[in-house]
Amino acid sequence: MSAAAGLRRQGAPRRRIPLADRRVTAIVAPLVVASAILGAWELTGLYVNRVLISSPQGVASSLYDMLRQGTINGALWISVRELYLGLAIGLAAGVVLGIVIGRYALLDSIFSPFINVANATPLNVLIPLLILWVGISAEARVLFVVLISFFPVLLNTAGGLRNVSRGYVEVGQVLGLSERQLLRKVILPGAVPYMFAGIRLGSALGVIGMIVGEMEVSNVGVGYLLNFYGEGFQTGNLLGLVFIASLIGVLNVMVVRGIQKRWFSWIDAAR
C-alpha cells in the first residue's frame, strides 16, 4: 500500500494553499519588499555620499523635526489654500462651460481648435508668460491651478453630455419630456459620472499645478520649499517634504471619492 493511498484513507488531505494566496502574504510581502528597499537605501548611504542620498532614518528624523517645529506649517497652509481656491474655480468653470459647449454645437465648433491646442500643450510652458502678466504672486499661482485643472473637466463634461446612455435619453423622449426637461432630468444627471472622472483628473492635475507653480512663481509654499531644500542639499528635509506632498495628493483623492460616495453613490453601482 502506497503512502498516498494510506493518506487517502484518513480522509481528504488538506490542500496546500500556495504562498501567494495566503492572507498573511498580503501584509508580510509588502513589508518584506519595503524593508528591502529601505535597507538597500540605508546601505547605499554607506558607500555613496550620505548627504546626497540621505537615509530612511535621516528622512524620518527630518520629518519629525519639521513637524515638531512647525517649519512647514506655513508653507502647507499657503499651498493647500491656493490649491483649493484654484480647484474651486477651475473645476466649477470646467463643469459650467463644459455644459455650455456640450449643449451648443456651434460654440463647440468655434472653440474646439483652441481647446484642443490648450489640452495638448504642457501648460507650464505658459508660466513665464503668467509671470509677465501678474508677476510672482499668489494670483499667478492660483491662475495656473485654474488653467491646468480646467481643461480635463471641460472636455470630460462636454463629452459626457454627448455620451449619456442612449437608453436613458430614449426613455425621456418616449415619456414626452420637453427639451428643457430632458436636459435637466436625464442628460445632466447622466453626464455626472463623466464629470466626476474629469474632476478626478482635474484635481490631480491641480496638485501638479500647485507644486509646479510654487517652484517657479513663488518664494513661499511647498513647491518653493522643495526647491529650497534641494538647492541646500538638505536631502532629509527634501524627501520628508516629498512624502508630505504625496499625502496632499492622497488627501485629494480621498476627498473626491468621499464626495462621490456621499452624494453620487449611484455612479459606481450603475456602471
Binding site: S165, G172, V174, L175, L177, K185
Partner: protein
C-alpha cells in the same frame, strides 16, 4: 403579401384563422393603423430594408404580438410607433389622427429596462407624470397606485439598481402605466430575464391586461410567450422586413387558468407559426 397557407403545417388540424390584415371598417374602430410603412437603414456597405410596406390595424383593447426572428423589423416598427424613429414612407394613425412623432397617449417598455439610476423607484415611475406637469401630490399618489399594481409598493424609495432584473422591469412597466396610456408598446420586455422570472412576469402582464383593458403591442421572438399572452399574432419575416400574416389565437381566456403549453390548439398554433417563420425546429413535428 401572400395569404397562402404553408403546405404541411399542422397536417390535418384546422389552420388558424387569419384575419384580414387591414381591418378597415369591420365595425370596430382600429386603435392603431399602419399603412405602407417603409424604413431603410444605411448599413456598412449595404442598405438594410428594415421594413417594407407594412400595413395592418391594431384593434382597440387587444393584445397583439409581433413575432419573428431577429432582424425582421418588429422592433423598428415599435420604435416608429413611439416616435423614436421616423418611417421613410407610410403613415401611422392613432384613433384616426395621423402621428408624426409619437404620442402622449402611448407608453413604451424597453428591453433594456433603462431605469434612471439617479432616481429612486418611485421617482422613476413619476417621470412620465412630470413630463405631463402633473402636480406633485397627485404624481406621488398615482405612482404609488401603479406600484401597488405591480406589487412593488414597498420598495418605492430604493435606488433601482438594488433590485433584481425582474423587479426592475416591473418598475419599467409601472412607469409606462403611470401615464395611463391608451396603447402600451412593449419591446421584448422580458428578453433579459431568466426563465422563471420571465414566466412570472408573463402572468403579471396577462393579469394587468385583463384588469386594465389597455391595447398592447408586444414584440417578442418567443413564440410560446406570444401564444400565451396574445389575441392575435402578427408574423414578420426578414430580408426585407415585412408582415406576412396575422393569425388569431383562439384559445380560451383567462389563459392563466390552465397550462397553455399543453393545450392541443396551442401546440397546433405553435407549430404553424414556427413552420411559417422558417425556423427549422418545428418541421420535425
Amino acid at each position: 403579401m401572400s395569404d397562402d397557407m404553408r403546405a404541411g403545417a399542422g397536417a390535418g388540424a384546422p389552420a388558424p384563422a387569419r384575419t384580414q390584415i387591414l381591418d378597415g371598417a369591420a365595425g370596430q374602430a382600429g386603435m392603431l393603423e399602419y399603412a405602407g410603412i417603409c424604413k431603410t437603414f444605411p448599413g456598412a456597405g449595404r442598405t438594410v430594408v428594415a421594413l417594407h410596406q407594412v400595413t395592418f390595424t391594431v384593434r382597440r383593447g387587444e393584445f397583439l404580438s409581433l413575432v419573428g426572428p431577429s432582424g425582421c423589423g418588429k422592433t423598428t416598427l415599435l420604435r416608429i410607433t413611439s416616435g423614436l424613429e421616423i418611417a421613410d414612407e407610410g403613415t401611422l394613425a392613432l384613433e384616426g389622427s395621423i402621428l408624426s412623432g409619437g404620442s402622449q397617449d402611448m407608453a413604451y417598455v424597453f428591453q433594456d429596462i433603462n431605469l434612471l439610476p439617479w432616481r429612486s423607484v418611485i421617482k422613476n415611475v413619476e417621470l412620465g407624470l412630470e413630463a405631463r406637469r402633473v402636480p406633485k401630490a397627485e404624481r406621488r399618489e398615482r405612482a404609488m397606485r401603479v406600484l401597488e399594481m405591480v406589487g412593488l409598493a414597498d420598495v418605492a424609495g430604493v435606488p433601482p439598481y438594488t433590485l433584481s432584473g425582474g423587479m426592475q422591469q416591473r418598475v419599467g412597466v409601472a412607469r409606462a402605466l403611470a401615464v395611463q396610456p391608451k396603447v402600451l408598446l412593449m419591446d421584448e420586455p422580458f428578453g433579459q430575464l431568466d426563465n422563471f422570472t420571465r414566466e412570472a412576469l408573463q402572468v403579471d402582464i396577462a393579469e394587468l391586461w385583463e384588469k386594465l383593458g389597455t391595447t398592447i403591442v408586444f414584440v417578442t421572438h418567443d413564440v410560446d410567450e406570444a401564444i400565451f399572452l396574445s389575441d392575435r399574432i402578427a408574423l414578420f419575416r426578414p430580408d426585407p422586413g415585412r408582415l406576412t400574416e396575422i393569425i388569431d389565437v383562439d384559445l380560451p381566456r383567462p389563459r392563466t387558468g390552465y397550462d397553455v403549453r399543453a393545450n392541443r390548439r396551442a401546440i397546433e398554433l405553435r407549430s404553424y407559426i414556427v413552420d411559417h417563420l422558417g425556423v427549422g425546429a418545428g418541421r420535425a413535428r
